[in-house]
Symmetry: C2
Subunit: 454 residues, 2 copies
Amino acid sequence: MQVKDRNSWEILREHLEQGDTAGLNAFLAGLSGEDSLRALMRLDAEEQKQVLGLLTPESAADVFEFIPDESAGELLGELAPEVAASIVSEMPSDDQADVLSELDEEDLEEILRYMDHRDVGEARELMAYDEDVAGGLMMKEYFSYPRAYQAGAVLNDLAGREEEYELNHVQYIYVTARAGELLGVARIRDIIFTRPETRLVEIVQPALTVEASTPLEELEDFFDEHNMTAVPVVDGANKMLGVVRRRAVYDAVAERAEADHLKSQGIVGGEELRSMPNSVRSRRRLSWLSVNILLNIIAASVIAQFQDVLSAVIILAVFLPIISDMSGCSGNQAVAVSMRELSLGIIKPADFYYVWRKEVTIGMINGVTLGVLIAGVTWAWQGNGWLGLVVGAALALNTVIAVSIGGTVPVVLKAMKVDPAIASGPILTTVTDMCGFFLLLGIASLMLPMLTGG
Amino acid sequence: MQVKDRNSWEILREHLEQGDTAGLNAFLAGLSGEDSLRALMRLDAEEQKQVLGLLTPESAADVFEFIPDESAGELLGELAPEVAASIVSEMPSDDQADVLSELDEEDLEEILRYMDHRDVGEARELMAYDEDVAGGLMMKEYFSYPRAYQAGAVLNDLAGREEEYELNHVQYIYVTARAGELLGVARIRDIIFTRPETRLVEIVQPALTVEASTPLEELEDFFDEHNMTAVPVVDGANKMLGVVRRRAVYDAVAERAEADHLKSQGIVGGEELRSMPNSVRSRRRLSWLSVNILLNIIAASVIAQFQDVLSAVIILAVFLPIISDMSGCSGNQAVAVSMRELSLGIIKPADFYYVWRKEVTIGMINGVTLGVLIAGVTWAWQGNGWLGLVVGAALALNTVIAVSIGGTVPVVLKAMKVDPAIASGPILTTVTDMCGFFLLLGIASLMLPMLTGG
């Protein structure tokens, strides 16, 4: 076999055609997570379904770990419910809930019917929470023991649950009081080092906890400050509900940053992969584009008010898109810095004035620089100094406006609980376009005698 | 004290003015990492210097952990070298190297002079590597023992180094052969469970290793596949150089994604925080804007070739910025999806044709939809069906061009080893603007009789 010359999805397809289950499992086991995702995404929907049906549930679950949640949910919905259920059963409970909540009601119930009774209860519990609070991020796999248990008994029990234990890199066990409320935590290390007959109550240490409603930002803060791999989640009565892993928090933060970036570039309403159906991709992109085209028409209607100025100085039409694009660039820089400072926690909605003051300075420096630059180029190009002055002044003023809006709009939207990643760009572009067109054509109309006489 | 009504930086400033070192340390210790960063960034450069000088080196190092590397390097350069050295000495070696490599030669040497001899050697070694390979990400804090050591002796040694041990969440020790090459790894857990007189060689397990030149992407893959908290780095002779922590890899991946996002929005040449000097912020933003303004002028020069058409149908000027903006929007969506698929590893440079084929379909669907939409609006607004047809056709065709370019340019740039995050946007905008202006005005010139007669 000339494996080197062929693409991984072609090899997958070949195994599939030959019904070579063993070969398929072996081949995918040899690929990295990234490569198996790449291979799978290049197959068509029917082939993907067949491949996942032929894999052992463990291998399929390993592949699923690398598939973004939404696509994972879609794939799962395509599979026979008993196959889907066997794959989901191999995932840790926090991943289970993430994937299952992407399914529609009907597919979900079909799949849950084939799952273990206890897993179903846990999945339903986790899905009831928002995905960006501790309840939605937590997992149900943890070890807790009553306070009267002895260290030796705990070690024996853990030894019998070696696989579970290994899988989750356990470093702590949780100690509960009589009514089931969380008493504290004991490190595996301490349990090992102590005498076997030591009762847990003797070595338990107070545990830091979070509530199910604790938002992602606070969890991120928590793990930045505390060198722990997981934190217990408790309810109002201090009963333990689950644990949130550090890794789950960092993954969720990374996913949100990625989603914010996509949204700012006009990919809204969910993640997009090119393996998705064209109808879904097109519809989502259009939902964003159609709003933008209307905003664009509104902004450009300013130009229609100045047709007499344009008729008189037709070359001004060249500078309309330049003013629009450049103001967009300057404004987007300010948006990017604000989004970053918001996510780092350096600025908060109350810091509106600080942000504006900082931006307006940069706006003036850059506005004057860009204004002088384009004035010079215009003069040299069109041989008309007055035209250069008009274009330069409009760009300079509009740059100040653009960075002021770009810097502050994310802060204001955040304060208004509107998603700044989605809304900042269109607001910025529409307002700066309107101002830019108005400034260029308005100044030109004031200086019309100089422009036409030049 | 009405602490609640005052901002954290005002309280910091007050402690500073009163020279209240203890109060300062206590106050900062009570803040979250995010809040202490926010407070510090709102002080001016002189005050920041004073605060960091008054903190204990441990507290200052804790604050530094949250400051982005470049800003951290800048701050460090401002401090007295002996103060800077005492703070750096409290950081783990991988963070040390990151921060120190942001310093200029002179500041660096000044600070190294005050650092421990061994730390200096390690820092120089780590700084010699690129920051996105295993060598640049690794830390020198790890525990290794000769193969003949006994489990009991190892535990004794570890107990004596409790602080170091605790600090780094050690789960493995490394076992070396006679000439110092890495023999393998032993889990702390296994060492504890075995008889004290067991020699390491009896329980050592083969270790997965990476080389110092292993790139970040492969490390990310590695940790996705292996449930390990750290991996040993070896040289060609299998001698151990250090360990790369899972956390360092994920942090580096997140930082790179963040930097890519900022670059795509025109923040290039380094991170920007509003606490940086205006001259630096302005210069960096201008470096990007000045390239863009030239590209914009080149693109708009297409319009200047069609002044006669514009004179005849002045309303066309309204649609120039719309075509430019909308094509930019459509193209940026495709760029965002390609950047994401590149970073997920789903597409590689060889997949150019696949990407183009997938995009062109969406381009045609969305182009026709947007074209019909704007044609209808134009007809209704301007009462000229021919004008609607011209604008609609231009937008439809240019949308196909924009998504084709947007989807494939990142892939091509990646193949050419040019950073797609920086270059995709300007290339996209310039080419689609030129095509869009040419299409709108070109089609209009062909249909001039219908447009002027309408």
